[in-house]
Every structure is written in structure tokens, then in C-alpha cells.
């Protein structure tokens, strides 16, 4: 038994943490938030050069061939500083290609993804609050040697920064992912609360997709990719939640009211302690889920549903209390804690909210 990180993983954590402090501090994040795509080529290339983009790409395709648990380390640390780079959606796309792609597709795409040359993103569901194969409504109709696709994919993460998009579509009663170049589609901004997670509304107008750009996706594949998506988002929730918690806790040590640091009042202190209990707990659940994704795939559905089910509610509460415990200063645009509230609201429904995941836990648990 060893439920801890290896020395290499700790070094990786330090490396990402240093990158965030030196290259992507909050001032930089805010600068990127003000742009449409939140993207920075220089930072992206650094992330690629450090190996993070190819972390889960097998060595045969130019990556490091590491696991989801290693990526979890990266995402926890980048999300601590709300890094807007599309590292999670790149990794999610890697998972989709590894799972659903042909040998040709893998060798065409994966190396360019690991090297950072190609930015990929993936859009699964068309319904904003429904995790089910039926919630994929974008239609692909067979045509000469390929498919014709028309419709919209409303919430595609980082669509504006992507060179390639993998969009889930339905072809009669089968599912698949169509791989498209950015130039083939129309992307409009999808304004929403969390500007560190830009989303695009992708419109496809009678597009012809060749067979070689189609990845068949079974319902099991979809379920797996949803779970992997949830692992990635929850890893980011852990880092972001911890940052918000410590930001608030640090403030409570310094802020004096009635002659004492507010952290001395149990109304503040005990609340902080409860929040800590929550963050610790969904963090452990997430680590277990990330381990399961690598080593015990049969365990993944239950493991990730426990983690995301817990984290979705707990982080949302922390987002609110983080501001409440700061008082008025926490409400200002200038102060960072509010950005974490917005992240908590963004992350909650993505790849299933607590209702979805806890219901699944009950079902998988035999009820």
C-alpha cells in the first residue's frame, strides 16, 4: 500500500508550481482573461517543452507515457493559479484519440499534440445538464466516403484557441467524434462566468467530413470519456479549492476586527476547519479516481462519481464562503477570491453535477 506521490511526481509538482509563480502569476492570468481565447503561445510552448502536453501520450507517439495521476499533479498546480491554458482539454482529446482513434489517426495527431504544435479540444454533450448518449444531438449523415454535419455544439471548452476540434455527433443510432479544423467551423464566444475557462459555441454548416476524420465512439467510450473529463475537471477543482481556502485562511490571520484577527472567532475558525475537511476529502477521492483511471478502470465510474459528487457541492460552498469570510473586499473585482467562486460554478455541472454523480454512486452501490 502506498497512497502517496513518488519523488518524480513531487518534482513535477514543484516544476509546475514554479512555472505558475514565475510565468503565469495572477497578473498574467487576468491579462489572458481579457482576451477572447485566453491563450498564450509562449506559455503553451513552455508547457509542451516541459513535457506536460504529452504526459499521457504513449512514448511511441512522442509522449512521456505517464498516467492520469501524473497529469492530476499538473492540473492541480495550474488550477491553483487558475491558469487558462487548455491543458485539460488537450489531455481529454488525447484520451479520446487513444480510445477511439485508428492507428493512422493516432500517429497523425498525437505527436503534434505532445509537441504543442496542435491545440486540440473536445465537445461531447449538446445538452447543458444531461449526461447521457441521448444528450448528443448533433447529427452526422453519411454521404460519399464520409459524413455531412450540420448544427451547433454550444459549450466547447477553449474552442477559440483550438486548431482542431473533436465534436461528438450522432449518426443514426451510432455515435462518433468528428475531427475538424478550426477554419471549417464558425466559433462564437460563449459568455459565461469563468473567463479563465473560455468556451465557444461552434456552428457547423453542412460540413463534409471525410471518413478518415471520423472516430467511432461506443456508449462505453462516451461514458469513459465523460469520466476522464470529470477526473480532469475535479483535479483542477482540488487545486483551485485549496488556493481559495488558503487565501481565505491567510486573510483571516491578518484581518483585525474588534481588536483580534477574525480567525480567532469560532464563526470564522470553525468554518475554515469544515472547509478544510471537505477539500482534504474530495482531494483523496480524486487521487483514488485518478489512480483507478490508470490501474483499475473498472473502478473508475464509482471512484470518479464519489469525487466529483463530493467536490461539486463542496467547492461551490467554499467559493461562496471564501467571499463571505473575507467580507466586502472579497466582493471586489480586483481581489482574486471571487475568481475562484466563478471557477466553482463553472466546474460544478461539467461532466455531471453532484446529483448525477451521487445518483450513480447509489446505483453502482447496488440501490
Amino acid at each position: 500500500m502506498n497512497f502517496g506521490f513518488t519523488e518524480e511526481q513531487e518534482l513535477l509538482r514543484d516544476q509546475v508550481s514554479r512555472f505558475m509563480t514565475e510565468q503565469c502569476p495572477m497578473a498574467k492570468v487576468r491579462e489572458l482573461m481579457a482576451t477572447d481565447n485566453g491563450f498564450d503561445q509562449g506559455l503553451w510552448q513552455q508547457a509542451a517543452d516541459l513535457g506536460w502536453l504529452g504526459l499521457t501520450v504513449p512514448e511511441a507517439y512522442g509522449g512521456l507515457g505517464l498516467g492520469w495521476i501524473d497529469l492530476t499533479v499538473v492540473l492541480e498546480e495550474t488550477a491553483r493559479g487558475l491558469c487558462p491554458l487548455p491543458i485539460a482539454s488537450q489531455a481529454h482529446s488525447v484520451a479520446a484519440i487513444l480510445r477511439c482513434g485508428s492507428e493512422v489517426q493516432k500517429s497523425n495527431w498525437l505527436p503534434t499534440m505532445a509537441s504543442g504544435e496542435a491545440v486540440f479540444t473536445i465537445g461531447l454533450y449538446d445538452e447543458p445538464n444531461w449526461i447521457d448518449p441521448q444528450a448528443i444531438t448533433l447529427e452526422a449523415t453519411p454521404s460519399d466516403g464520409g459524413y455531412t454535419v450540420s448544427g451547433t455544439k454550444p459549450f466547447v471548452p477553449h474552442a477559440q484557441a483550438a486548431d482542431y476540434l473533436l465534436l461528438a455527433a450522432r449518426c443514426a443510432d451510432k455515435l462518433g467524434l468528428v475531427a475538424l479544423e478550426r477554419g471549417q467551423v464558425t466559433i462564437s464566444n460563449q459568455p459565461q462566468m469563468d473567463r479563465t475557462k473560455p468556451m465557444g459555441r461552434v456552428t457547423l454548416d453542412n460540413l463534409t467530413v471525410a471518413e478518415e476524420n471520423f472516430l467511432p465512439m461506443s456508449e462505453e467510450d462516451l461514458s469513459y470519456l465523460t469520466d476522464i473529463g470529470a477526473v480532469l475537471v475535479t483535479a483542477e477543482m482540488v487545486g483551485a479549492a485549496e488556493a481559495a481556502l488558503y487565501m481565505t485562511s491567510d486573510y483571516a490571520k491578518e484581518r483585525i476586527q474588534f481588536g483580534k484577527p477574525i480567525g480567532q472567532y469560532q464563526g470564522v475558525k470553525h468554518r475554515l476547519a469544515d472547509l478544510y475537511v471537505d477539500v482534504e476529502s474530495f482531494k483523496s477521492l480524486l487521487y483514488y479516481a485518478a489512480w483507478a483511471a490508470d490501474e483499475a478502470p473498472d473502478e473508475l465510474p464509482r471512484a470518479i462519481s464519489l469525487a466529483k459528487g463530493y467536490a461539486s457541492d463542496a467547492f461551490a460552498e467554499l467559493g461562496i464562503d471564501g467571499i463571505g469570510l473575507h467580507g466586502a473586499i472579497g466582493f471586489t473585482a480586483e481581489y482574486d477570491v471571487q475568481l475562484y467562486l466563478k471557477r466553482s460554478k463553472w466546474a460544478r455541472p461539467i461532466f455531471g453535477d453532484s446529483d448525477y454523480h451521487l445518483e450513480r454512486v447509489a446505483t453502482l452501490g447496488g440501490l
Binding site: E127, P128, N129, W130, I131, D132, Q134, A135, P154, F155, N189, Q190, P191, Q192, M193, D194, M199, R201, I256, Q257, F258, G259, K260, Q264, Y265, G267, V268, A316, I320, I323, G324, G327, A328, G330, F331, T332, A333, E334, Q338, L341, K342, K345, W346, R348, P349, I350, D353, D355, Y356
Partner: protein, 386 residues
């Protein structure tokens, strides 16, 4: 116990309804001059400052009638009865109670006529919950005070003409509540500078207000020197029943139910989801509790019994509802719930998302929940102070 209204009270309710029928056109049919006409009409009725004495231009109305008026106005989603919100809520009552004859004549009519907007300069960077410890300083110099210091979170400062200001005139006091004085200051006074602050929802309602050698004539002092705490605390206690607020919350709950009826969750009608149903019912229970709490406290007031700190109960309910109702709507919408105005998918044009980022207006703005909890525990239950 009697929940019936007297024939006179019933008649008053009818009068309000008839007035609303005649004077409140549907939103689409309102012309640009509507608000001005509306404010004049309600003013003519004596409904602005409804419970204020007639001699000051108020309506001398009773507390029950006032509750009825507020309830009907909220039900009809009518515009406010005046635009000087803080003027009507506490500055006016404070002036009527502690002001000189000259101050009453000078300030009250403009509040009632919505000519002047007031803002409230209490909080300072280092003194929010611990308001009595304020440091903004005023030194008497002949026939005026010279004010130096800073206020913050002053709602409405960027568009108000006057500020009700708490300053410290005496630093050598045994208890911090002493030595505080209340001044009424025009926002265009030389040396007064306003710097708006943007909040997380993107609005710029509140501001920092800086005072550098601002001269305030002594005749602008409200109450005696050193009595500022009493003057403002009793003015705050003037916030009467929260019945209108409760009606607004019922209206919001109705809108929320409409959203539930039109929403799906995991592909099924949200209204069939047991958790959704339970949550909506819990909101309703809390709002109803606020209503009947409010009526009990109102009854006490009418009987002339002192209200101690019971209103903190409703303040705590209000705070949690303020956070939870919008957040519930946002969660229900899934990713479309976090979408903002400008998104085709946004739920109700992003209005829930936007208001789910605005709860600190209520939850922090009027004193934080922890402070309300302290009030209940210490003043009502007699627990020792921290």
C-alpha cells in the same frame, strides 16, 4: 390571534389596488417620463414616507397600512416609492428624530420628492463589522469641522448628492462607541473625492470616499457631538417591517417555480425531481417563516413593546435565501446556468447567473451573517461576548 384585517385596512388595500390599476401601466406601455409621473403621483398620495409625521410631509400612516402598502407594491412589481433609498430608509428618520428644525426643513422635502440621493459613509478599510472603532477624523475649528480620513464600500457614492457620515471627534474615550459624531456632507464639498470600485458582477455601485481637509459647517452636524453612535444606530433600527421584502421574495420564488416547470434535468422534467421539489418547498417554508416572523414583530411594535434583536432572525433567513435561490437556478441550468447575457443558451438571458454573483449586496452589505449570529447569541440568548 387574528389574521383578519379590519374593514378600514381592507378598504386601504382596495385603494392601493385601484391606484395601481390606474397608475401602473404594464412595462411595455411605459413611456420615458413614466417614473417621474409615478413618483409625483405616489407623493401626492402621501405614500412616500408613509409612516412619517404629516408635519414633515409624510403620510402619518399606521404600521399595518404601511405593511399593506408595501405588500401591494411588491405584488404589482411597482417601482420604488422614491429614489432616495437610504434617505427614506434611515437618513430621513434620523433627521426627524435628531435633527434641528432647520435641518428638517432643509433635507426632508428633498428626500420625499426624490430630488436628492443620499449615501452612507460608515465603513472604513479597517473597520467593517467593528464599526464603532472608526477612525475618520473631524476636528472642530470655529464654526465648522475639518474632516480627514477615508470611507469605503459607500454604496451609491458615485451618484449621490449627500452623504451621512460617521466621524470620530474624540480619540480619548473609554468606550469606542463614544466620541463618534454624525455629519451631513454634500458630495461636492471641496476635498472630497470618490473612487468607484468594481465588484465581481462587473457593477460599480460602491466606492471609496476620501476626505482631505473637508470643511463641514457645524450646522450640518446631526445630533450632539459625540452622539453619533446613538443617532445612527437608532436610525438603523428605524428599518421597519420587512413585509414588502417578503412579498418580493415570494414573487421571486414564483419566477423560480416557472423556471423549474420549463426545465429539464438529466433529460427529465425538473419538476418531477424529488430533490428539486424539496428544495423549492424549503425556500417556500423559509420565506413563509419570514412573513409570519415579520407579522409577529410588527404586532410587538404596534403594541409598543420594544423589539430587541429579533429582526436578526429574518436577516439570516434573507441572507441564505439570497445566496441559495439564485444558485439553485444556476445549478439547475447546468452549463447554460453559468452562461451570461449575450449567450444564446443562457437561462433567462443570464439574469440568474448575474444575480448569483450579486448576493454580497445583501449578505455582506448590511452586516454579515456572523454578526447577526453574535447578536442573537449575545443579546437574545445572553451568551458571553467573544
Amino acid at each position: 390571534m387574528d389574521f383578519d384585517y379590519t374593514p378600514e385596512e381592507q378598504a386601504f388595500r382596495e385603494e392601493v389596488r385601484t391606484f395601481l390599476k390606474d397608475n401602473l401601466p404594464p412595462k411595455e406601455a411605459r413611456d420615458p417620463g413614466f417614473l417621474k409621473t409615478w413618483l409625483e403621483r405616489v407623493r401626492e398620495k402621501g405614500w412616500v414616507g408613509f409612516s412619517w409625521p404629516k408635519e414633515f410631509g409624510g403620510g402619518s400612516g399606521g404600521l399595518i397600512e404601511q405593511a399593506i402598502l408595501r405588500e401591494e407594491m411588491a405584488l404589482a412589481k411597482a417601482p420604488p416609492l422614491g429614489t432616495s433609498f437610504m434617505g427614506l430608509a434611515w437618513v430621513g428618520p434620523g433627521i426627524m428624530q435628531y435633527g434641528t428644525q432647520e435641518q428638517k426643513q432643509r433635507f426632508i422635502p428633498d428626500i420625499l420628492d426624490s430630488k436628492v440621493t443620499w449615501c452612507t459613509g460608515y465603513s472604513e478599510p479597517n473597520h467593517g463589522s467593528d464599526l464603532a472603532a472608526i477612525q475618520c477624523k473631524a476636528v472642530r475649528d470655529g464654526d465648522h469641522y475639518v474632516v480627514n480620513g477615508q470611507k469605503i464600500w459607500t454604496t451609491g457614492a458615485p451618484f449621490s448628492q449627500w452623504i451621512i457620515l460617521l466621524v470620530r471627534t474624540d480619540f480619548d474615550v473609554e468606550v469606542k462607541h463614544q466620541g463618534i459624531t454624525c455629519l451631513l456632507v454634500p458630495m461636492d464639498a471641496p476635498g472630497l473625492e470618490v473612487r468607484p470600485i468594481e465588484n465581481m458582477a462587473g457593477d460599480r455601485h460602491f466606492a471609496e470616499v476620501f476626505f482631505t481637509d473637508v470643511k463641514v459647517p457645524v450646522e450640518n452636524r446631526l445630533g450632539d457631538e459625540g452622539d453619533g453612535w446613538k443617532v445612527t444606530v437608532s436610525a438603523l433600527a428605524n428599518e421597519r417591517s420587512s413585509i414588502g421584502e417578503v412579498t418580493q421574495m415570494f414573487a421571486k420564488l414564483d419566477t423560480l417555480k416557472g423556471l423549474v416547470r420549463n426545465s429539464k434535468k438529466q433529460g427529465r422534467p425538473a419538476s418531477e425531481d424529488p430533490k428539486v421539489r424539496r428544495q423549492i418547498a424549503q425556500f417556500e417554508a423559509k420565506i413563509a417563516a419570514m412573513k409570519y416572523n415579520g407579522l409577529r414583530y410588527l404586532t410587538k411594535q404596534i403594541k409598543g413593546e420594544p423589539l430587541s434583536s429579533e429582526t436578526s432572525v429574518n436577516k439570516l433567513h434573507r441572507a441564505s435565501l439570497e445566496i441559495e435561490m439564485d444558485d439553485f437556478a444556476v445549478e439547475l441550468g447546468g452549463t447554460a446556468g453559468v452562461a451570461l447575457a449575450g449567450s444564446e443558451e443562457a437561462v433567462d438571458e443570464g439574469s440568474w447567473a448575474k444575480s448569483s454573483l450579486s448576493w454580497p449586496n445583501v449578505v455582506i452589505g448590511g452586516g454579515t451573517p456572523n454578526i447577526q449570529r453574535n447578536i442573537i447569541a449575545e443579546r437574545i440568548l445572553g451568551q458571553p461576548k467573544d
